[in-house]
């Protein structure tokens, strides 16, 4: 098994944490993980990403070649980092924040549009849960790690006292994405 995930956003949205939790969940399942964040002078507000490779064997070359899952929460990160995605990979964008080039909806077989930030705001009231909502949606749309492993990893990483809220946020993303996948819907509708 070999899986390449890319979480992209603008600095400060907390997507690096989502990558870390994916890695932890992989470790729980006995898989190997390697994560490479972008490393630029732009920490807040600049386009940022983290690549996480998951493999059943030891990861030798730690850079991505063909991405299986791509998340974007900002147009500038979508344009900058939305390359090398497999045609049958899963693309997940927040349509309120990403102006998607129309042809991309045809280019990728599994192009999902879920208003992650709006959902986080509505259900959680705090944007700090964006990464947990994103992760939930990702786990539902891909089969890289199990829901149990992802929840366990998230719970362990969550700051004390926020475990319950993180679980709830994970469910928000997971339930919506799972339902869309089941129904074959690619654009979230309220």
């Amino acid at each position: 098994m070999h899986f390449e995930a890319r979480f992209s956003a603008v600095g400060g949205q907390g997507i690096i944490l989502a990558g870390t939790i994916l890695a932890d969940a992989s470790h729980i399942l006995g898989l190997h993980a390697a994560g490479s964040p972008t490393y630029t002078a732009q920490v807040r507000g600049g386009p940022t990403k983290v690549d996480v490779i998951v493999d059943s064997d030891r990861i030798l070359f730690p850079r991505t070649a063909a991405i299986d899952f791509f998340l974007s929460l900002a147009t500038k990160s979508y344009l900058r980092f939305g390359d090398n995605i497999k045609p049958d990979g899963v693309v997940l964008v927040d349509p309120n924040l990403v102006e998607v080039p129309a042809e991309d909806r045809e280019k990728y077989k599994n192009f999902y549009e879920i208003p992650i930030i709006q959902l986080t705001s509505d259900h959680m009231g705090r944007m700090v849960y964006t990464s947990a909502v994103s992760l939930g949606a990702m786990v539902a749309l891909t089969d890289v790690v199990t829901e149990d492993a992802a929840r366990q990893a998230l719970k362990t990483r969550a700051p004390k006292g926020t475990e319950m809220y993180n679980m709830k946020a994970f469910s928000v993303g997971y339930d919506i994405a799972a339902k869309m996948k089941e129904k074959g819907e690619y654009v979230y509708s309220m």
Partner: protein, 383 residues
């Protein structure tokens, strides 16, 4: 860069720079003197957090030069000391690194290599400081430099760097690069007590009889720290066993040769090589550090194509494993040397082998690491 440093369970998902800091403290490091420089700064930041909690001291000095000075000074006061930097910083540290060699101050200097000469490519990797590590500071001196590739290995090699420094009373370099420094992967820190920790040999003579460079019992003089009642003179000038300067030719030469012997006579304790599919290889690939990871992929792919390729991956790059390379060339017919620079360590490979051995260089600059396909192409070309 976000923080991966909190713990997620038994397997830590740490960037290489954090691995270095954690392992250093596990090895007994209790002093860090540094000056922030990309892409090594996370080591300093993490040490600033860890050391005060572990009874150690962290100090950010006014510049790279002073940082290296503080590390040598702390070592002479008995600390297990470390600094971390990148190429431009190491350029500034070199004078005091040489001071560390001549006064025989055990310490660890980490270089998280970045691209380019001068300020170069601060946020991108290279392996272009390998000759600087060997010959950067002036004069004759032995060098020990370690080049791990994987994070678990990085943890253990950081500990080994301290052990070698303490054992042979000399600075030891840990050469990684931006790829390793910022890559996060799983690490299981070993239980304290499950790995060897070597401490420098202390002299047990009374203060009035203490001779700071007493080599009557071997090439490594027993140590006494400053500030515990023993007084001794420290100088960057060539000195005799008393620690005071000398220009007597035979004493100077004998002392410089003794420094060399600390490494040349203990190669079996210093050399370390990992072999990968090398036993029956016809095409030998020689690669170290982050590039060796790409080389492993290329070797596997070559095998799938029916090419008998194998990898020699030195964890100790300096002293250079010239004998082991030479012996391997009795078996392999051709060599491929990928390195993330414009050709440095290949010179050492070339002079270690029979002169008619074909050697394919794979070199690169620009900040984008050598990919497996580039190495595979080199293997195919010579196969």
């Amino acid at each position: 860069m976000g923080s991966f440093t909190d713990t997620g369970g038994d397997i830590k998902f740490w960037p290489g720079n954090i691995v270095v800091a954690e392992a250093a403290v596990a090895a007994g490091c209790n002093f860090f003197g540094g000056y922030p420089i990309t892409p090594s700064s996370e080591i300093a930041a993490h040490m600033a957090m860890l050391l005060p909690r572990n009874g150690g001291h962290f100090i950010q000095m006014e510049d790279e030069i002073a940082a290296m000075g503080s590390v040598v000074g702390a070592s002479l006061a008995g600390a297990k000391s470390m600094t971390a930097t990148s190429g431009p910083g190491l350029s500034l540290k070199l004078e005091n690194l040489g001071f560390g060699y001549i006064v025989e101050a055990p310490c660890v200097v980490v270089n998280v290599m970045r691209g380019g000469p001068s300020t170069g490519l601060p946020t991108h990797p290279s392996q272009a400081d390998v000759m600087q590590a060997r010959w950067g500071t002036h004069g004759d001196h032995p060098t020990i430099a370690l080049t791990p590739s994987f994070h678990q290995e990085l943890y253990m090699e950081t500990i080994r760097a301290f052990n070698l420094a303490e054992k042979f009373r000399m600075p030891v370099l840990l050469l990684i690069d931006e790829v390793i420094g910022h890559l996060s992967e799983g690490v299981v820190p070993p239980e304290p007590g499950s790995f060897e920790i070597i401490n420098r040999i202390y002299s047990d003579v009374p203060p009035e009889d203490f001779v700071p460079y007493d080599t009557s019992n071997g090439d490594i003089p027993p140590f006494r720290p400053y500030f515990d009642g023993y007084r001794w003179h420290t100088t960057g000038l060539n000195h005799d066993h008393t620690g005071f300067p000398t220009t007597i030719a035979k004493d100077v030469e004998a002392d410089e040769r003794r420094h060399y012997r600390k490494v040349t006579e203990h190669r079996d304790e210093i050399d370390k090589i990992e072999w990968f599919l090398a036993e029956d290889a016809d095409i030998g690939v020689f690669s170290f550090g982050s590039t060796a990871r790409a080389a492993m992929v290329a070797v596997k792919q070559a095998r799938e194509m029916g090419i008998k390729a194998g990898l020699m991956r030195p964890l100790t790059l300096w002293p250079f494993p010239n004998i082991q390379v030479n012996e391997w060339t009795n078996q392999v017919k051709k060599l491929v040397v990928p390195e993330f620079n414009l050709g440095q360590i290949v010179y050492e490979v070339e002079r270690s082998v029979h002169s008619d051995m074909p050697i394919k260089r794979i070199t690169k600059a620009g900040g984008v690491p050598i990919a497996p396909a580039e190495i595979l192409a080199g293997i195919e070309e010579v196969a």
